[in-house]
Subunit: 242 residues, 2 copies
């Protein structure tokens, strides 16, 4: 259910919460099939979200019930793609999601072979023919002319059990670059994010924004590391409003 | 269930999410009894959270199932007190909550008589003899010597359907005054907040903090209004760590 405190000023679910539910669905779905985070942790492996794209016709309204369906569309040695469909009990589709995941070795932090798990069992779960009628993520192209918008400190509530900023928090911070007055006139049609590096407590995040088409913006997030003051790109987003 | 992305670096539920679940429980419980927000809106009334105190022995861990039970402890003309108990299926109690609510006229924003609703029907729901073994909220006393810690801008994701900062966001922003290193050594034993005024998009929130005993701090939140630059106290908190 779209809980009241998970909804924005207009009474529609925050996109960050929907992203959170997609990640939950991915976690439950993979756990049920022997590919869950808990099991992977025990063999020093972990899923890492590489890309997420969400495209919505409509956002669930306050107190509406919605379901998130998920399936694995394809898998390769180092990446797997998992799709999402958000709908209600009557079959009305609110929107879709696409995600790309890598599997890493938690000690070396390097990509590892997904097919090495349980003799390539992921192949048993691939549903190649189920439609997900939104575009795949593409490389977010930005020039060097993006405007610096703001910087924020990374705080306790941004950090999850992995010790770094949780994937959904980036989405919330990026959407906070626009104000309530903007959202009164625009809704998010598509949100796309590509994760590059991790951000930790004590880092500062800088946001650079560039308009790339009518109602379309790209945003680059760069962290300044607490100790070294190194600057590193951590993710890029593309947001299409309508 | 304590969802993974609702848990902090230590794998324990964020206090903000627990506060959110308490407010949900209050909403469902009052709706089931004819005192819900939806009905009140239709007669130009609304519940306004005045105080919330949460005291925890332990926070639910990632993937643990927990329930939030709520009941009305007492009611007066302008205020009602509602308690919470957080437990698991085996009966283990994680902690308790206490809250005080006012009912306001949504046009005048003035307090209105709770007993005027449905001929004082709230009396039917009072459970006076159920124990809630944590202290009631008391006035948070602060001197004029509290230290300015930081200021933040109020953004899109802070604002709920009422058009102002949602009650839980204040809790998150206050707890963000301490860093991960602090939470590695301390857990929140009791958190108390008294709401005074509303904060809107475009306002700036300033945080003033004062140590009041060993492992006890009080925090005053003051908004600087976007247009007028007026300074107004919006809430006060007391946090006891252990």
């Amino acid at each position: 259910m779209a809980e009241p405190f998970h909804c924005d000023f207009s009474g529609r679910l925050f996109l960050g919460h929907l992203g959170n539910q997609m990640l939950n669905a991915a976690d439950f779905h993979s756990t049920d099939r022997g590919f869950g985070m808990k099991y992977l942790m025990s063999i020093k492996r972990s899923w890492v979200l590489s890309r997420l794209a969400i495209e919505m016709v409509e956002m669930p309204a306050q107190y509406e019930h919605y379901s998130v369906e998920t399936w694995v569309e394809s898998a390769m040695k180092f990446f797997t793609s998992r799709n999402f469909c958000v709908s209600d009990a009557s079959g009305k589709v609110y929107g879709y999601g696409r995600s790309i995941w890598a599997m890493i070795d938690t000690e070396t932090r390097q990509p590892t072979d997904i097919y090495a798990i349980d003799n390539g069992a992921i192949n048993n779960w691939i549903v190649a023919d189920k439609p997900c009628p939104i575009e795949k993520s593409s490389r977010v192209k930005m020039s060097e002319n993006a405007d610096f918008v703001r910087s924020i400190d990374i705080n306790y509530n941004d950090i999850d059990i992995n010790g770094h900023v949780n994937s959904v928090k980036y989405i919330e911070h990026v959407l906070d670059l626009w104000d309530v007055a903007w959202y009164r006139e625009h809704r998010i049609k598509r949100f796309e994010i590509a994760y590059v590096a991790e951000t930790h407590q004590g880092d500062k995040l800088c946001f650079y924004r560039e308009p790339t088409a009518e109602n379309e913006y790209c945003v680059r997030l760069v962290k300044t590391e607490g100790e070294t003051q190194n600057q590193v790109e951590v993710c890029r987003c593309k947001i299409v409003f309508c």
